[in-house]
């Protein structure tokens, strides 16, 4: 098999890849695609009677106000207030003041001796540590978004799941009703440590759900790695780092996976479960073999199913670490 052909079409053609290209190429848009701009003048609304239009606008306004009221009742106001500060933190380059509102689009910076406590009614409290830089991206009733460029924040969130989102260079950290610490290094690596509840990390095609007592790293351009419990052995954590992020060296990843499997305790089964989506069939077989030693397999689970990449959610019950909140099936919605 030629990986170069799969990569960029160079090298000796791989027969199966070539066959699939021909087979699936039919689904590709044909010709030079053009965007169909909406014709405002011919929109259905333009053809309706003036009275009907007013009724619709009035109904929409009532609905909108009702929705806003309902959301605010649930999530409270959306203002970010400087609740407390130490040293000389700065908003947009000027000295921040206690009780000041941090507004959307503004930056917030702390130096080596500064700290800030931020309060948002209905959301919770965020503590910003020294040498941090953040931006407030969104402050609506349905979603609060900040960008953490460097430094550490400590979050204690009481809002419903997925209302609070932190963008870091390596992943989105989406709160699911929890408390956690999130650090971004100067290299853009983010390290999440969850103390209560769950946090959902996502970037591009990767996702990691991180429970209380666990941590996970994310790297720019790669995304979140599989989470691990804080009390895992150092050897386990170092090897996991290679499995998670040394994507240019499959052999070193393979060797590191051997160490991860050897070092894994029953509690580390959670990490192994998270690795199933990131490795190939052969390694899924190795993961299954170790997992079956650490935990009694659930009814119906087979090695072949695991190797085939089938759903592993039945194993979660065996872990005894609880589930994310019910009703949150499927990927969450990130407001664009």
């Amino acid at each position: 098999m030629s990986d170069e052909y799969l990569w960029d079409g160079s090298g000796a053609p791989d027969a199966e890849v070539e066959r699939l290209e021909k087979l699936l190429g039919r689904f590709r848009p044909t010709g030079v695609p053009e965007f169909e701009f909406p014709a405002a003048a011919t929109s259905p609304l333009a053809k309706r009677s003036r009275r009907e239009q007013w009724w619709r606008i009035a109904a929409a306004a009532v609905l909108l106000l009702g929705s806003i009221w309902l959301m605010r009742a649930v999530t409270g106001r959306a203002e970010w207030t400087i609740g407390g500060l130490e040293g000389s933190p700065r908003i947009e380059g000027r000295a921040a003041e206690r009780n000041e509102i941090w507004k959307v689009g503004q930056s917030l910076e702390t130096d080596a001796t500064s700290r800030v406590q931020l309060r948002v009614d209905g959301l919770g409290e965020i503590e910003v540590g020294p040498n941090a830089r953040l931006e407030l991206l969104q402050a609506s009733a349905t979603q609060q978004q900040i960008r953490l460029l460097r430094g550490t924040i400590r979050a204690a969130v009481t809002a419903p799941p997925y209302v609070f989102l932190v963008r870091t260079p390596g992943a989105y950290a989406m709160d699911m009703g929890c408390a956690y610490t999130l650090q971004v290094t100067d290299a853009g690596v983010s390290i999440l440590r969850v103390t209560v509840g769950w946090v959902d990390l996502q970037h591009g095609f990767r996702q990691s759900l991180v429970p209380a007592g666990a941590a996970a790293e994310s790297r720019p351009g790669i995304g979140p790695g599989a989470p691990y419990f804080d009390d895992a052995s150092e050897r386990f954590r170092e090897a996991l780092e290679t499995v998670n992020f040394d994507v240019e060296n499959p052999q070193s990843q393979e060797d590191a996976l051997t160490i991860v499997l050897t070092e894994a305790r029953p509690r580390d089964a959670y990490t192994l479960l998270n690795l199933f989506r990131r490795v190939d069939a052969e390694d899924r077989g190795r993961l299954y073999d170790r997992l079956a030693v650490l935990l009694p397999p659930p009814a119906g689970a087979t090695r072949q199913n695991a190797v085939d990449g089938d759903d592993m959610s039945a194993w979660w019950d065996k872990l005894g670490i609880g589930h994310v909140k019910k009703g949150l099936k499927g990927p969450p919605r990130i407001e664009e």
């Binding site: 699939l20 848009p29 053009e34 965007f35 701009f37 991206l137 591009g204 790669i222 994507v247």
Partner: protein
Amino acid sequence: MGDFSQDAKLVHATRGGDRAAFGELYRRYVRMVHGVLLAHVPYAEVDDLLQDVFLIALRRLESLREPTAFAGWLLAIARNRANDFHRRPRAVEELRDSVGSEYPDEQEARAAVAAIQSLPEAYRETLSLRLVEGMTGPEIAARTGLTPASVRVNLHRGMKQLREKLGKSAKS
């Protein structure tokens, strides 16, 4: 990484009322959005959702804070629309795919798409972009903002799983 500064220029021009600029953004990203949608929803739904994604992008372009982040933002819209499709109640479970029956290997093509859609997310989108849209690994990295190494690994591992799945379905 991709030429995101060019995206930013096109976003600014579109905001200034330049339709041709948005047309250019559409041409730059239509294959990427098409491939990502096809990784998640039935083929018959892709064209409607594709138009929907770009209409939403056009309507919300003013709210895009960083014009250089257009590609990632557009991807988020596409994935959200694909998720919406699966959340939407449907009286008839699936509309029949409209792939022309003139293809003698139609069943095989559908089975291959279904196999791609059953892969882990990281692999299905990358493989859809490579095998359906004909994008190369470097192009996928440039358009999505993923590192070339990540894309290469996704392609390699995804293809390995796809071979296994297709091999298994051929036997059964």
